[in-house]
């Protein structure tokens, strides 16, 4: 039972099935999904399209109801007290949440006043947020004239107007160019320190999850397959990746045999002329690996040591690389529509 002193967000055994319709089988979007996010942290739901991230967010934000399971936002039961939950949360949907015909300041003031702020209060808060997000110069222009990055910053500001306890950010940087993404990341990092709020972030960008989230849940097929801080998840893989690219005339099999004899290397494997292995200390092990290959007469073209990435974590827990999962999800979505 969550109380006002409990976690900022809690989802427990959430199940949600959408009817299939027209001969298609029903789609189980959430299959016993659960997680807990502590106050003042950024919690990331990471997964490919169709994994169940947006459905989770819709349930927690009172937009839809689960078939079964419970959800708490700011210690309030979402199903029992949706009206109270709506005052505690700010919602930045995947799609733009601003009215393109209104100006930036009009959008902000409207959002604040609908949350019960007085006109004066809303105007002051709007000024503060426009200033923080660097939009003051564009405050009195219609949002339809904004660039993608500016509009997205305004969306986040709209979600923050009433000083919510929990902010929902659904795919905040999808569709932005790399420069605008980097800028928004910076703003989001600043925001979480300044506002003392809990953020639920969904993303299908591994680098975004790595950069912004304090804790992560990797979601696949409607359930959480792994959870922890990005560092913990990566450390679970125990060690760095050592990748050796063999020269054109080298024998990959001889290379594999040579690497398998190096004690510090584990999980040795190969894909064509690319050999991979894991080591607790990649930088120290690499010279040993190269020496072993040279002794076996296997010519090396290049060698890399890499810290484990979330992509490796994803591969480990779902059996698919993230890119592959993303592609197959897009394939399913295209065929469903």
């Amino acid at each position: 039972m969550a109380t006002a002193n409990g976690p900022a967000l809690a989802a427990d055994h959430l199940v949600k099935t959408y009817p299939g319709g027209r001969g298609k089988p029903p789609l189980r979007a959430l299959d016993d999904l659960g997680f807990v996010a502590e106050k003042g942290t950024v919690f990331g739901l990471l997964g490919p399209n169709g994994a169940g991230k947006s459905t989770t967010m819709k349930i927690l934000s009172t937009l839809t109801r689960p078939d079964s399971g419970t959800a708490y936002v700011a210690g309030i039961d979402v199903a029992r007290h949706p009206a109270r939950v709506r005052r505690a949360l700010g919602f930045v949907a995947q799609k733009p949440v601003s009215d393109p015909m209104d100006t930036g300041v009009e959008n902000l003031v409207l959002a604040g006043r609908l949350q019960g702020m007085s006109g004066r209060e809303a105007a002051a808060r709007a000024r503060e947020l426009l200033d923080r997000f660097g939009l003051t110069d564009h405050a009195r222009r219609q949002v339809k004239t904004y660039s993608g990055g500016m509009a997205r910053k305004l969306d986040v500001a709209i979600g923050l107007m009433h000083r919510p306890e929990v902010l929902f950010l659904d795919e905040p940087t999808t569709g932005l160019d790399p420069e605008a993404r980097a800028e928004l990341w910076l703003e989001l990092e600043r925001m979480t320190t300044a506002e003392n709020l809990t953020v639920l972030l969904t993303t299908h960008y591994l680098d975004e999850a790595d950069r912004l989230a304090d804790r992560l849940a990797i979601v696949d097929h409607g359930r959480v397959v792994a959870g922890g801080t990005p560092e913990e998840l990566k450390n679970d893989l125990r060690g760095d990746a050592v990748i050796v690219e063999l020269a054109g005339d080298a024998d990959p099999f001889a290379g594999l045999t040579a690497l398998q004899r190096v004690d510090a290397l584990r999980e040795v494997g190969g894909d064509g002329r690319t050999l991979r292995a894991r080591a607790d200390n990649g930088a120290a092990t690499l010279p040993l690996a190269l020496a072993a290959l040279e002794a076996a007469g296997v010519a090396v073209a290049s060698a890399t040591v890499a810290r484990p990435s979330l992509d490796d974590v994803y591969l480990r827990h779902t059996g698919r690389t993230f890119t592959r999962a993303q592609e197959s999800a897009e394939f399913v979505l295209e065929n469903a529509s």
Partner: protein, 274 residues
Amino acid sequence: MTTTALPASRPQRRNGPTFLTHTLLLTGRQLRAAWRMPAFLVMNLVQPVIWLLLFGQLFKSVIDIPGFGVGQSYLEYLTPGVVMMLALFGSAWSGTVYIQDMDRGVMDRFLTSPTNRGAMIVSTLVYQSLLAVVQSLVVVGIAFWAGARFEGGVVGILLLLLGVVLLTAVFCSLSNAVALLAREQTALIGISQLITLPLMFLSSAIMNTKLSPEWVQNVSAYNPFEWAVIVGRQALSAHPDWATLWAHAGLLAALAVVMAAWATSAFRVYQRSA
């Protein structure tokens, strides 16, 4: 434990000030958007001129058909019909605002905030009513300029506007509900093509139904658009049949309440399938 909350355990705020404030805020938002599209405003004002003068000329001689005449010019007969026609056409498109809000994340943002659901419906009714009232006054003004005279006077015009507002409320709600349930602009095109034109021709808006086949007269008795035309025509006449006027205004008001409630409940359906 299931999440189906008991109605009793849900502390729904039903306070008037929130409803009124939210209605004002959301109406203001739509008025700002309209004000920023001068082309839209101009079209809304030119349209009445076209309908009134076009129909006025086209059907000018129907007044001479035996059995039609009520001692008026055709323009005088036609004016309340065109007023109601414009209100009907305008309000059938009302749901467009919702479709745009749903295509963006604006609808989801409102629904995840304490924004009053009733105010979301009523603000579109208020906005469309304001547009329709302005259009109606333009129509009456042009008719007057073209020589029509209305014995009903100021009271008559106010009652005509009452009919306009009630008709707008009925069809705005219908349009909003369809928008929430179908979530596609094509559905709204469907209403405006399939419903509004037949409703208009199954009424006495441009043609006295006494000259139409009997079935048309029978059907038009159940046509809410015809109720509004009757309210408007009685209101502008020299000697209104007050019983007829208020009976039809009452029918329209009752239907408007039912439709607005239906539209508000459509939010729940929208949310269940979100």
